[in-house]
C-alpha cells in the first residue's frame, strides 16, 4: 500500500468514492478517523432512511416511519454483525489488512449503496405519490410495481457498491485472484446475514392484506432460506 495516499476530508470523500478514485478509496481505509467513521454511519442512516420512508409511504405513514428505521438497521446490522468474520477472512485469504480496515472497506461499499438509495428516494417517492391509493382489495398490481422497482433500485445500488469494493480489493492486494476470493467470501457472508435480517425485519412495502406493523407476529419463526425452499417446493407441486 502507498503510505503517501491522501486522506480525504469526510464530506469531500463521497464523490471521490462514488467515482471509484483509487487514491481516495485507499485513503478511505488506510487512515481511521472518528469523523470519517461517523460520516460513514450518518450517510448510511440518512440515505437508506430516506429510501425506506419513500418505499413504506404507499402503505401508510406509520409504515414509512418503520421502514425508515429498518433500512439502516439492516445495513449497519450486516456490516457490524459480520465485522469480525470479515476481518478474519481477509488475512486468511491473502490480504494483509487489519480489522478496522476491513470494516471500513465494507462500510465504504454500504456508503455507496446508501448514497445511491438516497439519490433514488425522490424518484421512489414520486412513484408512490402517483400510485393509486392503498386499498385492501385490488392493490396487488401496485404493490407488485413498487416491489419490482424496489428490487431494481436495490440491485443497482448493490452492484455499483460491490464493483467499487472489488476495485478497492484489487488495488490493496495487487492480485486479481486474492481480490476475487475475498470479495466473494465477504459477499457470501453479508448476503447470508443481510437476507435473514431483512426476513426478520419485514414488512417493507407492506402486503395489502396484512396490517401495518413494525415486525410481523412470526418474525422470529423460520428463516429466509426456509421460506425460499418452501416456495420452491410449492412451485414444483
Amino acid at each position: 500500500m502507498n503510505p503517501s495516499t491522501a486522506t480525504p476530508t469526510a464530506t469531500h470523500a463521497l464523490p471521490d468514492i462514488l467515482r471509484g478514485d483509487t487514491k481516495h478509496l485507499q485513503g478511505w481505509i488506510q487512515n481511521w478517523q472518528t469523523r470519517q467513521f461517523a460520516f460513514a454511519i450518518l450517510t448510511i442512516v440518512i440515505g437508506s432512511s430516506l429510501y425506506g420512508a419513500a418505499v413504506g409511504l404507499w402503505r401508510a405513514p406509520a409504515q414509512a416511519c418503520y421502514v425508515a428505521l429498518k433500512m439502516p438497521l439492516i445495513l449497519l446490522g450486516t456490516a457490524f454483525g459480520n465485522a469480525m468474520l470479515n476481518g478474519m477472512m481477509a488475512p486468511l485469504l491473502g490480504l494483509q489488512i487489519n480489522f478496522r480496515q476491513s470494516l471500513l472497506a465494507i462500510l465504504m461499499s454500504f456508503v455507496i449503496a446508501a448514497t445511491i438509495l438516497g439519490a433514488f428516494s425522490p424518484l421512489m417517492f414520486f412513484l408512490v405519490w402517483n400510485a393509486p391509493a392503498f386499498s385492501v382489495n385490488g392493490s396487488g398490481s401496485v404493490h407488485a410495481s413498487i416491489l419490482l422497482l424496489d428490487v431494481f433500485v436495490i440491485a443497482f445500488a448493490g452492484i455499483a457498491a460491490n464493483a467499487r469494493l472489488l476495485k478497492l480489493l484489487r488495488e490493496l492486494s495487487g492480485s486479481r485472484a486474492i481480490a476475487m476470493k475475498l470479495f466473494f467470501a465477504w459477499i457470501a457472508v453479508n448476503l447470508l446475514l443481510g437476507s435473514q435480517l431483512s426476513w426478520i425485519l419485514r414488512p417493507f412495502i407492506g402486503s395489502p392484506g396484512l396490517p401495518v406493523e413494525f415486525l410481523r407476529a412470526d418474525a422470529f419463526h423460520g428463516n429466509f432460506y426456509e421460506a425460499v425452499f418452501n416456495a420452491f417446493k410449492n412451485f414444483l407441486r
Binding site: 464523490p15 471509484g20 433514488f120 402517483n130 393509486p132 455499483a160
Partner: protein, 260 residues
C-alpha cells in the same frame, strides 16, 4: 474574372453547434470567455454558443449563469403554457402555464440527485452545482425550442376539439425539444467526464418517464376539469389509454348523431 481559388468565408469557431470543436478544452476560444451577464446573453449563448455556457458553468460566476438559465426556463415555460392553455381557455390560461413551469422544474429536481450519482459512477469530475447548471441548461434549451413550436401549437389548438390530438402534438414537440436539450447535457458530460456513459443514458429514460408521469399527475394541462389537480391517481399509460378510449366513445356517439 474572380480569383481562381477564393478563400471560403471564415466561420467563427464555437458559434455553430456542439460538433467538431466540441472536444477542444472549454474556454480555448476567446469567444467562449465573453461573460454571460444577463438573460438575453444567456438566451443567445445557449442557442448559438453552448460551449460558452459550459465554460461559464465551471467559473466563479456559475450561480449567475444558472440563475439566468432558470429565468429563461420560467419565462419560456409560461409562454408555451399559455399557448397550450388557449385550447381550453378560461382557468386554463393561468393553470396551464403554472403546471408547465412546476411540472418541468419538479421533474428536474427529482431527477437531479440520481443524475449526479450516475455522473460520479461514470467517473465525471463535475460538481453538484455544475450538474445542476447542465440541468438548468437542458430546461432552458428545451423550453426555448418549445416557444419556437408555440405558433404551430396555437394554430392547431384553435382548429381542433380533440384533446388526444393536441396531447400527442404537445408531447411530440416536447420530445423533439428535449432531444436538443439532452444534446446540451451530453456535451457537458463529455467535457466533465469524457463520455456520456450508460448510466446517464439510463437517467435520460428515467427523466423522460418522470416528465410523462408529471403530465398525468398535474392533469389537465390542455383539457378542462373542475379541480386544479386530479382527484384520482393514475399512471400515465393508464391515463392515456382511458383518454383515448373516452375520445373514441365520444367520436362514436357524434358519428351516430350525424348519421341520424
Amino acid at each position: 474574372m474572380n480569383e481562381p481559388n477564393p478563400q471560403p468565408p471564415v466561420i467563427p469557431p464555437g458559434t455553430l453547434n456542439l460538433g467538431d470543436s466540441a472536444y477542444a478544452p472549454l474556454g480555448s476560444n476567446p469567444n467562449e470567455q465573453i461573460p454571460i451577464t444577463g438573460i438575453l446573453t444567456a438566451f443567445e449563448a445557449i442557442l448559438r454558443q453552448p460551449r460558452r455556457v459550459l465554460f461559464h458553468l465551471t467559473q466563479a460566476n456559475a450561480k449567475n449563469v444558472i440563475g439566468a438559465l432558470l429565468m429563461i426556463f420560467v419565462i419560456a415555460s409560461v409562454i408555451y403554457g399559455f399557448v397550450a392553455g388557449t385550447f381550453s381557455g378560461h382557468d386554463q390560461l393561468w393553470a396551464a402555464p403554472a403546471k408547465v413551469v412546476l411540472g418541468l422544474f419538479i421533474s428536474a429536481a427529482i431527477c437531479l440527485p440520481s443524475l449526479y450519482i450516475f455522473a460520479c459512477l461514470n467517473g465525471s469530475q463535475a460538481r453538484l452545482y455544475e450538474v445542476a447548471g447542465l440541468v438548468a441548461g437542458l430546461l432552458a434549451l428545451t423550453t426555448i425550442l418549445l416557444i419556437g413550436f408555440a405558433p404551430v401549437a396555437w394554430i392547431f389548438s384553435q382548429s381542433t376539439d380533440s384533446v388526444v390530438a393536441m396531447g400527442v402534438l404537445h408531447l411530440s414537440f416536447w420530445f423533439i425539444a428535449t432531444c436538443f436539450g439532452l444534446r446540451f447535457l451530453d456535451s457537458g458530460f463529455r467535457h466533465f467526464s469524457g463520455s456520456f456513459g450508460v448510466g446517464i443514458k439510463i437517467w435520460t429514460v428515467i427523466f423522460l418517464l418522470v416528465v410523462l408521469q408529471m403530465t398525468t399527475a398535474l392533469r389537465p394541462i390542455i383539457g378542462r376539469a373542475p379541480t386544479f389537480l386530479p382527484t384520482e391517481k393514475k399512471f400515465f399509460l393508464s391515463h392515456w389509454s382511458d383518454t383515448v378510449s373516452d375520445s373514441n366513445k365520444a367520436a362514436g356517439k357524434k358519428s351516430d348523431q350525424d348519421y341520424r
